[in-house]
Assembly symmetry: C2
Homo-oligomer: 357 residues x 2
């Protein structure tokens, strides 16, 4: 079925990513229907229609899916039952396979490794004995992560010399887990890209990320990387998207390693099957924003140009950093975006600023 | 009272201008409450709160004004009683004086002329005898316009050789009118500018407009004009804004005349006390869009940079021109904005495309 302007885009999830997708969709003449379980969802405020209900409410999910022309999501932890239910009544883009792969760190790593793309060393952990064996094999430091429902450093613990393994396993709730070897990376990078419903592909330029307390602090484009590394990042993204028959925008988080001779190597850290914080720079810094690109892709429309407009730096406003809004507005080089969240809590992403030079 | 992100901006009127102001406000973390009398208002779809009620409904207007922190409007024909009522409960920006001046073509022209700024020749028309005398004095062609409630060529009739004056007066409903002398202009131009609550001022660059059937067809920046003409346009805008103690974005429509020696002269045609179609290019083509600039101004926030990002052409999609949306999306140089209107009628503005080079 062809989706044209005037149609309704459904979004599962109501955070800032949903809010920015909704605004981009409205700009293209779409109506937006946001589904989320939190009445204080930032995306509700910019959507034509809202449903506030649990992701386990089958009747609400069905009514939502019947009321829209296509459904997408803004967070990868959409319960698989909810995704399956919705997809019976409207196309779900990206599809269930992308969601299932990204929801499970072990499945994700195995999938990427299966494509012949390098990742950090990893091992499945199902019990304490398995953890002890894997740590002995992999060496310290290494990182123990729950297989499911982790983001922004949640559900993970670093195992260093002297760390007690039983304690570490306790700390992640003895959940099914993955142990990842420590990678001596030179930097954290990401590539945000889109695959269209027709298999077309377009990648934004490789960007460089700085994290603080496991939360993205800033993104810089152009990244400090060789041209061949940029090309490789786009090729990695394309291989992943093609293998998942992916439709929409996604991000691949990468580690960049520099060998003694300066040669660069990319390792995949994580796939995010959605628009991504490290792509926020595109909203002021690229011809097409990642949000518009996502809307184009999930509606089956032509992908837009990923051309960059200049050197860009995107700075996240985390916690009370948003209190500087007036000074930011007074800076002619800054473009401010605030997410409309009522309460600034430590670690909470409240907005971002893009500097275009 | 200081207005901070998280506050609620009220907008009177719900068309595409309101829609784009609302989206810009949401991007800055504001909540938006749109008041309009048409249930099919494009702006309702991107606003946190909506009131659909008549502009004569005092109770609804009061409830709206009490629910917001500041009120602005997206069309200059807001009834003066409604504006007065609202301003008892919340600051109205721009204020009642700007509205009153812009609602009456005679008051507007007199106001501009009173500032020593040149306009086309004009005369007040209160009856047929007065029309006959004025036409005899001014010569043909000339244009008879109702003093109030005209836009996009509505409420006006051109008087040429052979035109019957009684018929022309009939055509505008024998309403209080103004007769304007024909100006042999070389081009139609406009300047979109903003004045802050603190008296600060910032003008976007002079732009050049092409109309078809009295409807803006396209806007081009940079305009074909001398540097001194650009400066003069900004100076005219500033003089007008200061005299009105204006707060917000506004447009001054100008005629450019070229003398035999190539010297350029600007005449003011009209003032629009709101964001303006000829400023749509700023949304992709300037550091700050006119919509964000308007929000900054009416909230008492610092004005943003008006710097231009390149050569820009904005093309209106009027009537069924919006049916080409897919071809426009496929053009990497084009940025598409659609207003979410259900029906494309001849002469109806459905969206616009911006080309940035």
């Amino acid at each position: 079925m062809t989706i044209a302007p005037g149609a309704t885009l459904g979004i599962l999830g109501g955070g800032q990513l949903g809010r920015m997708i909704a605004s981009a969709a409205a700009r293209l003449g779409l109506k937006v229907h946001v589904y989320n379980d939190d009445p204080a969802s930032p995306a509700f405020e910019v959507a034509a229609f809202s449903t506030c209900a649990s992701f386990e409410d089958a009747a609400a999910l069905e009514a939502f899916a019947r009321a829209v022309n296509v459904v997408t999501y803004e967070f990868e932890n959409v319960p698989s039952d909810a995704a399956a239910l919705v997809s019976r009544f409207a196309p779900l883009r990206p599809g269930a396979q992308a969601l299932a792969t990204a929801q499970d760190r072990l499945a994700e790593k195995s999938f990427v490794a299966g494509l012949g793309i390098e990742t950090a060393p990893f091992a499945a952990i199902d019990d304490l004995a398995g953890l002890e064996a894997a740590v002995a094999r992999m060496g310290r430091p290494c990182v123990l992560k729950t297989r499911r429902f982790g983001y922004d450093g949640k559900g993970q613990v670093t195992i260093r010399d002297g760390s007690d393994l039983a304690q570490a396993y306790e700390a992640i709730g003895r959940a099914p887990a993955i142990l990842e070897g420590f990678v001596p990376f030179a930097g954290e990078y990401s590539v945000v890209a889109a695959r269209g419903a027709d298999g077309s592909f377009a990648a934004f330029e490789l960007c460089e990320n700085v994290h603080r307390d496991h939360i993205l602090a800033l993104t810089r484009v152009p990244a400090d990387a060789a041209d061949s590394t940029r090309d490789e990042a786009a090729a990695i993204a394309r291989a992943i998207a093609d293998a998942l028959d992916y439709v929409g925008v996604f991000a691949v988080e990468l580690f960049l390693l520099r060998e003694g001779d300066g040669a660069e190597r990319l390792l995949v850290n994580e796939i995010a099957p959605r628009v991504h914080n490290s792509g926020h720079w595109t909203d002021s810094g690229a011809v097409t924003s990642q949000f518009e690109q996502h809307v184009r892709a999930v509606c089956g429309w032509p992908l837009g140009s990923c051309a960059r407009l200049g050197a860009v730096e995107m700075v996240n406003l985390v916690g009370d950093a948003c209190e500087k809004w007036r000074a930011i507005l007074a800076d002619p080089a800054a473009r401010l975006t605030l997410y409309g969240k009522a309460q600034a809590r430590p670690g909470r992403k409240m907005g971002h600023v893009t500097y275009l030079r």
